[in-house]
Assembly symmetry: D3
């Protein structure tokens, strides 16, 4: 049975659902005789304050931030905002967690994405690139990870499925580019666009939120991506060394500049175009989110957007 989401709750409603515990804090009672427990609960639709007045210390010590908690209680309105009066809260069984309940998902429909992936595969003429993409698409474990991974911890496409949305966005933009610039090697650019961020499946982990893995922080998705590409190409005897070198370089250089953590800068045109399309696809997502983040939709300007290092004009 589908659980209720935070943005569906109404004042007075009984609640029995799981949430991610985002914050917990012991607070002194106003009469000075003890404490209550103030929590912030979250799911993919937002956050909500909760109050626990009984078994305060047991509950406090029985869970930690990041846990999924099973909550019993009642939604009430307090000073114009919804709150849950919680009668019971405890850690939920781990093996049944679905991150999609807690982290926003990409708007991209999985079915649409799959169709796009296979149409990309079909469109490839270069036989080795086609084999490579085919091999990757048929690796079920990898694809399950690739389909759900986020493209970032925050900033852009920080959603379940965000990596796939981002990768396909760049593939589509690349398809536009090859129409305009016929000297681009279409299949190389498309394959590079699809695979440039594949290391991100190992850079992030997510459960009730998105975080870096140790590998992600110590090696980064560029090095992890080269490793994955090596893994796949290693299974394709006869894959041309030049093509492998070019694809690997496209991963290595796609951040475009040393200070953005690319150990090499793009040295042929498909690598250079990939870098800029990566920037555009991220920018489109960040400017859109910036506009959506305004408190008042009448404002001409967003607040300060850290990932863009600027205010965004939204008129």
């Amino acid at each position: 049975m589908a659980e209720i989401f935070i943005n569906q709750l109404k004042s007075g409603q009984e609640v029995s659902a799981t949430f991610a515990l985002r914050v917990k804090k012991l607070m002194p009672l106003r009469n000075g005789t003890g404490y209550y427990l103030a929590v912030v609960l979250g799911d993919r639709t937002g956050q909500l304050e909760g109050r626990i007045w009984e078994s305060v210390f047991e509950t406090y010590h029985g869970c930690k931030v990041g846990d999924v908690v099973k909550v019993q209680g009642q939604a009430t309105e307090y000073n114009g905002k919804l709150q849950i009066q919680i009668s019971a809260m405890s850690v939920y069984q781990v093996n049944e967690i679905d991150p999609k309940r807690f982290i926003p998902s990409s708007a991209l429909l999985l079915e649409t994405a799959r169709e796009k992936l296979f149409s990309i595969l079909e469109s490839l003429q270069e036989v080795h690139l086609k084999s490579l993409v085919s091999l990757v698409l048929s690796d079920e474990d990898f694809m399950n990870a690739f389909i759900t991974a986020p493209a970032a911890k925050r900033n852009h496409h920080a959603t379940i499925g965000g990596l796939l949305e981002h990768s396909l966005g760049i593939v589509c933009a690349a398809e536009g580019m090859v129409q305009v610039y016929p000297n681009l090697d279409r299949d190389l650019l498309i394959t590079g666009a699809l695979l440039h961020d594949l290391g991100k499946v190992e850079e992030y982990r997510f459960r009730t939120g998105i975080d870096f893995t140790d590998e992600g922080r110590l090696l980064g998705h560029i090095v992890l991506g080269v490793r994955l590409l090596d893994h796949y190409i290693g299974q394709l005897p006869g894959f041309p060394e030049d093509l492998r070198l070019k694809l690997t370089h496209m991963i290595v250089s796609h951040h475009g500049q040393y200070e953005w953590q690319s150990p090499k800068r793009p040295k042929f045109i498909e690598a250079a175009v990939l870098h800029h399309l990566d920037m555009i696809d991220a920018a489109v997502d960040m400017f859109k989110s910036a506009a959506e983040s305004r408190d008042d939709p009448e404002d001409h300007w967003s607040g300060w957007i850290k990932g863009l290092d600027r205010y965004v004009f939204c008129k």
Copy 2:
């Protein structure tokens, strides 16, 4: 009658044609009894050494580098390379100069470009942007300049017609982008793409080569472009202030970063996309030129490309 070009000359051929004087130098005769005059002549197809043995000093003082000179002589082969033995050389009448003889022209056909310009105009739905583009296209003086201007002194699109080729390239790329990212304001992006570099018609001057104007060096094409945009919008009563502000910002911010001489960074998505498409269009031209500039087409690498600050892989 069409004059001969340098890349058409054959050994033994009589030459009577105009060239740009690129270099002139008095050289001592090997027998120590006087001087000869060594010159480098150029046209859009290349450069050629020339030798003058008579009236050396008069000829030397009668012309200066950058002049168009009328040359009489004979092509000869000397150590495997063509050279002109010049019997007479003098400055040519200025009022008949055609820069296309001396500076390479964009590969874009003017007819194709005109069609594209009018199809852009037709495609615009937003009435004020359509009026603006219509006004610009119908300004014959400006269009003559816009059609011939280069996009740079060197680096990318440093050709007659290069500015138009560059501007239309970005418009085409922008048309691809709006397919992929439907939240982009198509007409704003297309108009911005077409007009973003319009100040370049006043930034460069060209006759036998491309150089900066004083305005170009002191103000730059961003400020000159804002001035031109103001000039046109000033003729369109009722042009919405918001639209004018956005278009102006797109010119002001299209270099993307302060250190690249943009006084503002892009603050809405169409401005940000325009910046990256500008980078891509320039990169496509520069990587292509880099490959073409190799001495040996078998080399995997170009020489150092200053505009890209790197060697380019050409395999």
Copy 3:
């Protein structure tokens, strides 16, 4: 009748005056039975906390931060600090607002400033520059704006009249420079100093505080200033093109470096000197403010001054 200012208030005094509403916040009553409204009120002399115990929600929703509010109440001392117990607070009629009540004004006397402006005009020998300055000074609308505009949102000369004070400060410093360096073109430097920041009249708006306009954030005062200069010079037939180019360049380059948002760097000496005098005039104001901002006048050091990116020695 002159209203009372915050720094004149005494404990026990009845207050009936307008203030700028800087902060508003609903706070739970200590007995847990409801809320009170805590506000911060401001005028040009400082800020003051206020408390509202009746009609809390109506008052809260009846005004927003940045409004001018009419306040009735009594000043009281609470823990050594003054506070207003507010009996009534409502938004004040907009069309009668005087920003000088809410924003500090420059110490420069308007009469002194006007005299200086006309003595500058008189001192100019170059006929076209004299005409230009004369035209600007006689534009009443512009002068009303120029006389009241701030030179910044914070950092330096963020006062009503700050722009004029800053501009005249640089003119005076420039007059000193031409004594020392006789090869400077006096009239060019003086005119450039007077007009270099004229775009700031359109970069900022102020009412109860100083903020950027949309134009200010999207175009900046350099581009806005060029536009205004064009507007004036356009009315002066026969204004020499070279002089216009030089003056325009002085506006364009006066921040001195690309990363400080100048699209060009100074390319002749008057432009270079103007840039440094601009830096000095701003520094004098910022170091002075830094010293004044110390809590304890015995301290050798100010706190961290963001605009200077350092601590300031005040001994």
Copy 4:
């Protein structure tokens, strides 16, 4: 039979030896009747000019810069400098080339190096790191490459065997560090020091000079090194994941900063120490070379040293 080296040649001596062709140039004869061929020949001890007066064009077109050429001729003194009058010069058989004749070799004796390598292996206590180093040392093909590879194209340790000298230098310095800082993980630091640059065996190629491989320029030795480490650890079942992660990070971060092409900065102390020891070992070599490069050993200063971006004090 051992061939003669350039620094052993004496005037009047007959020469029959192989050299690297560094420069070739057709020069007009002084009497204007034809050309001679001027070449620069090189071996590991220096360079020498040569002159060819017969079969000039055949010889010119029969060889290219970078070739090994077999030279017959006689050393003569010309204006105080030695020169070879060449009677015959032709390209030498490729399959017998020994780069050590043409590129300087490290001063490190191979026997000493081998002993050091095995004493490092013996000194390791951590069983997996010991297995890894043992595996690498027993890979004959790799070791042959590792023993001969240079550490750079120029700047520091640009010699045959330079990579090994550099790697062992850092190991020795690391051994000193663990004496001083006992909280360092000795075996991790030593192993990291030995293997940090192993990708350089694929980054450079050398025959008569040192140059980048395509892999070197497109991927760089950091990415190539991670690949090689993966190759070796892949053969060691049970190698702890944490240890692999740490060693890999040490390769990835050893340049210390993004702008020096490290995609990650050191995130634990052994990685940080490795980075600084790498800097020291390179500096020792570069300062020494700077002093040796002075024309006059009495000069207090070297010329400008590009790799150090400074003049070096040599007193």
Copy 5:
């Protein structure tokens, strides 16, 4: 009699001891009838909250942050954390203050340090450097300062004796380096290592915490160190000018780069090595502190470490 330290306190224990007053704040009583005084007390072992319920205002005004206060009270446990209920608190007599009670001390034993200092002195062969070190070591006033000074306000070695620990750490590392790189001038490097930061004795002051002196902020320890070195060498007639110049340069350049406040970059190898050893010694201390600062020793990562500008991997 030894006073008790914060980390020795137990709930219920009577306290009569001196502490550094780190924070003081008047807080409203929950019943709204007045105020209590909340303080944070510190010594070298940590910090502790305290509460004062009587003579609140007198106590508040009778002391200021940074003072040493004599505290009477009782340790109690409140919500799982220790707190002191303070019955009396007043400023302590200044002339008896021992900073070691309030600021952590280096782990280096003074006796060990002294032995090391004299073994350094003995080890020096170069007679003038030996005289110089001997002179410094025999300057009792300076040595008392050198032995107790911190090496920084925070970041690394911010302890009493931290400067000495840091200086000797670098000397020890330098002794390792001269084993590996025999072309280093041992005595110069060792003397430079010992004295490179001597200006820090005048850069910091410490009593209950570490702060900059005015000299420290206005001149910095590099300029102060040159001045001190001049002072000592001025007492050594016949000290060679070259040696003085080299030692002075080692102080002047030891931060390695202009942006790290070195007015010169290292221009000979001993200066370059000193710079890197300085970086290593600081890094060892900062990475160690980062690991110790984790809340949960099971965490793989420290929090953000400002001095290192990164998270630290602690697994």
Copy 6:
């Protein structure tokens, strides 16, 4: 008897004078039978080519670049340019060299400068600063050096007396500033302006050209200047410590930014103003020299000016 200068020579004139030897080069005779010696001679007015046909090798080995040479010969015109046919050239006696013959001198008259120095001294009200300046002015050895030293090796004021001209220029500009900004401490600013670069007397050496001393390159004029200031203030018992600290800081911070080799940035207003006046005075000199360096006085632009990193507009 006054020697002739290069810019006074006429064709046909006999020459017997001393010059600085700037370049020497052995050149093959055109008939292939030997060598001639080509030299470039210089004095403060310019440079001239010379030719030596006899005793070529003896002359070549008998002098080195930088020497003053006694030249006998005859000025001749060759291809429109003057040249000296040299019959004898030998090294001149060192102890009689006057650098003013070889290096341009400042246009500032020494008498004017002395008057200005004494009027500065008289103008000082603050008794200790007056004593300091008086002490410096009365140090004959220092003043001889201060009066002749250049302010740079090239870029700005690279003349004999350039340091004094530069220092007095800033003092004059500072006098203008204190008129405009009355909160400036006049005497501090004036004294700081006069003495800020005093270390340059030890940074440069000059004889036939300007070069760095070893101290200059290893320590720089900031550190050398602090040392000199210490030397003078050390002779003034009772000189206030605060004043010494401020003056020293003004020397230490006058380059304004770390990357311009200031170990501290200006922390009070007089130091900040001094920095900007230093920039202005250097700029005035560099822009003027840029205009003078044009080949054609009709050109609107100078060539690339390295010290300004730009082209200069000269119209």
